[in-house]
Each structure stands twice: as structure tokens, then as C-alpha cells.
Amino acid sequence: MTQWWCSASGRPWTWEPQFYPGVWIAMIALAIVFGILARKGRLMGESRLVFWSGWTAVGFVWQALDWPIGPLAAGYLASAHAVQFLTLALVAPPLMLLAVRRPLAAAVPAAGQGRSIAMLLTQPIIAGVLFNVITITTHAPAVVDRLMPSQLGAFAIDMLWLAGGVVLWWPLVVSAPQRSWFTTPVRMLYLFMATLVHTGIAMVMLISQFPMYGIYELAPPWDVWSPIEDQNLAGGVMELAGAAIILGIITVMFFRWSRGVAGDNAPKAPPRD
């Protein structure tokens, strides 16, 4: 029977490619919406590099959801699941948002109730809390073991990660509505705090004595490594790759900010008469 979305099937893994119609439909929908917005962004002056980075991110989302990473992550390997999480929540959303930030910012109402709703939805504290609630919930063993065997459940987790990533990165990348208090040092702190939870989950995966997730422990074995080695690898991927992404971005933000501060404090040339 054809599955419309990758879920834990309990069947032995096969390298025979599988077709998941739901993934293709979702990707076509994402590509259409992104394509329209990215084209608008390009017309509004976004660089070609940012435009194509956004399309690359769409490709990353597709790779994370479709065969082979999708089904491997859904029912065989916690490490593939960790790669999927990083791709859907931390890598693809900022790149996609960067390419479409101008049309998105333009779409935010300048005043009225619409602006109030936009202010609330993109409020950094709410966004940070929401992202971490999604991260904790979707990594809880009881939730993962219950949802991943069902296609709808697996779909819900994938979409929550993508949505959580958009929520997390919006205040940083789109920056609309603007907030005067959300300065670069606060942004760096926001990014650092917002990702502490997934670092904690990665630590638990690294030090846990037994496999945390039944779906991976009881799945038809993957001969390359044992379930606990796979879980340690998943923790390592989340910890190291996650830290590299976040700290890399924070470092770039810091140097840009410090250059700007240095520029502001530089001695001004005396005015010529």
C-alpha cells in the first residue's frame, strides 16, 4: 500500500526508492508560495545570492521530507531524525525567510488591528517560547513513539518543525514589525536562549544509557550501528551541528554589530571650511 507521508512502518528498510504523494504535493505548494514571494523580493531589490539561497533551502526541505531521509527519520534512525530537525527548523527557514523578507515586511499592516496581531505573533519572547515548546513536545519519547507510526502524526511533527523554525527566525530575519528594543545584542541573546532547549535534548541523547525512542529501538535493525549508538550520533549531530549553526550566526551578528559600533565611535574628520 502506498504511503502518502513517511511514517514508521515496521517493515525492514529497503534501498528501493519510495514515492510519497503527500510530500510531493506539500513541496509543490511550498515552491509555488515561495516562488511568488521570492520573485517579489527579487523585484524589490533582493540579491541574486539570497534569492537562490532561498531556493536551495526549499531543496533542503524536500530532501529532508522525501525518500530516503524522510522514511529513515520516521522509522529507522534517530540520527536521520536529528538531521531532519536541524534542516527543517534551523537551516531552511532562515534562508527561505531571507529571500522573501521584503514582501513579507511589506505585507505587515502599518497600523490598526492587523498590526496588533502581527506584533503579537512575531513578538520575540512568544516566538522563542513557542519554538521551545514545539521542540520539547516533538522530542518527548511518548509523543514521538505515538505519532511517528501514523502518517498524520509524522506529518504533524514535520510541519511543526518547519512552522516552529519560521516562528523562531521571523523576528531575526524579517524584522517586521520593527521593535526598537530588539537590538543586535538582544537578538544574539534571543537566538542563544531560544536554542538552549534543543541543546539540552541533545545532551540527554548523548548520555542516556538506553534508547529513548521505542520506534527506533524496535525497528528492523540497521546493521551499521546499534540503537544506542544511533541515538548518541543523533545527540552529537544535534549538539555539534546545531551549535555550529547557531554560534556561527551569532558570531557573524557580533562582528557586524561591533564593526557598526566601531564605525559610530570612530573619530570624525574635522569639517572643512
Binding site: R11, Q209, F210, L218, A219, P220, P221, S226, P227, I228
Partner: protein, 204 residues
Amino acid sequence: MLRLLRLLRLHRLPAAASLCLAACTAPAPAHGVALEPPLPRPSFTLTDTQGKPYDFAQRTHGRLTFLFFGYTSCPDVCPVHAANIAAVLHKLPFEDQLKATLVFVTVDPARDSLPALRAWLDHFDRTFVGLRGGESAVDSVMGKLGLPAAIRAAPAKPNGWYEVGHAAVVIVFTADDVAHVMYPFGTRQVDWAEDIPRLLKVGR
């Protein structure tokens, strides 16, 4: 395969926690399916992986013994059970590891030669015992334990590969030479880790 296994699979019952074991001093296992009445350690002789007769009752007398029927081509249940028990046994103190034995009886003697059986078991633990006998002999042992006989399907793939339906439980005999509990497929490492130290105390 899964449908076949589901037919044969014995479902987890909530009775395990309320078990009163023979000694009644050791804490009862927290997982698995309680056997009421408990099963006496069966007496049978099959061939071990060295080609020598292995008298199960005599060789495992007084030892914590995990008895499991499966086959080395099994894609899911058998390697998961074996890997999970091995992973937990390896975490026990060495003296406790010496008190436990896993005996794996192949239900697919046509494909599981003695060297193939040994190689498969060594993948998990070199001390695991592999036994082989004729189909009727193995089915008869399973019958003694109240397990359904294995169902050997006709080859369904061009390479002649076929599935074998078999009971997916591990029966655990304790030092008092009876089995009070058996563990269905789905038993996690964390469950074994909680129960094995308890099972080691039963009957001592």
C-alpha cells in the same frame, strides 16, 4: 511477515506486576506477561553450534535462561530481541553476566546451518547458545511450552527467500527452574534492565 507474527504474537498482559514468584522474597518483574501456572523448565536435547548434543534442562539447570525461538533470516523480531537482551546483559556486573544464558532455537533448520547460527549469535554475544534440530523436534519443544508451531511459508521471492511465522516471545526460566514470565516483542531495553536484576534473584 508482520501480519503472520501478529497472529502468533502473545499480547502483553497487565498481570506481571502482581506476580508472586516462587521465592516470594524477590521483587516481581515489572514487565512481561505472567505465566499462570508457571512453566517448568522443559527437557529436550538438540544440537548446539559445535555439533554436540545439548541437554537443555541439564545444561541450564539453576541458571537464569532466556529461551527464544526464531531464525537468523528474520528481518525484525529475532535480531531486536537478541540485540536488546545482549545490550542489557553487557551492562550488568560481570558476575551477573555469568549467571545468565540465552538459548536461541532455530525454527528454520533448512537455512540455519550450525556455522550460520553461530555467526549470527556472535554478532550479539559469543556466549549465546544456538540450537538446531529437525522441524518436528523443534515444533514439539514449542508445543511443550504452549507455543504454536512455526509456520514456514513457501518461497515468495525469486531468490527463494521465505518468511517463517513464529512465536515472538522470550521465555525466561529462573534459578528455581520454572518460568514465571515471558516477554513479547516490544519489550524495551529499559524494561529488561529493570527486570533482569530481579529475575536473577528469583529462586536464590
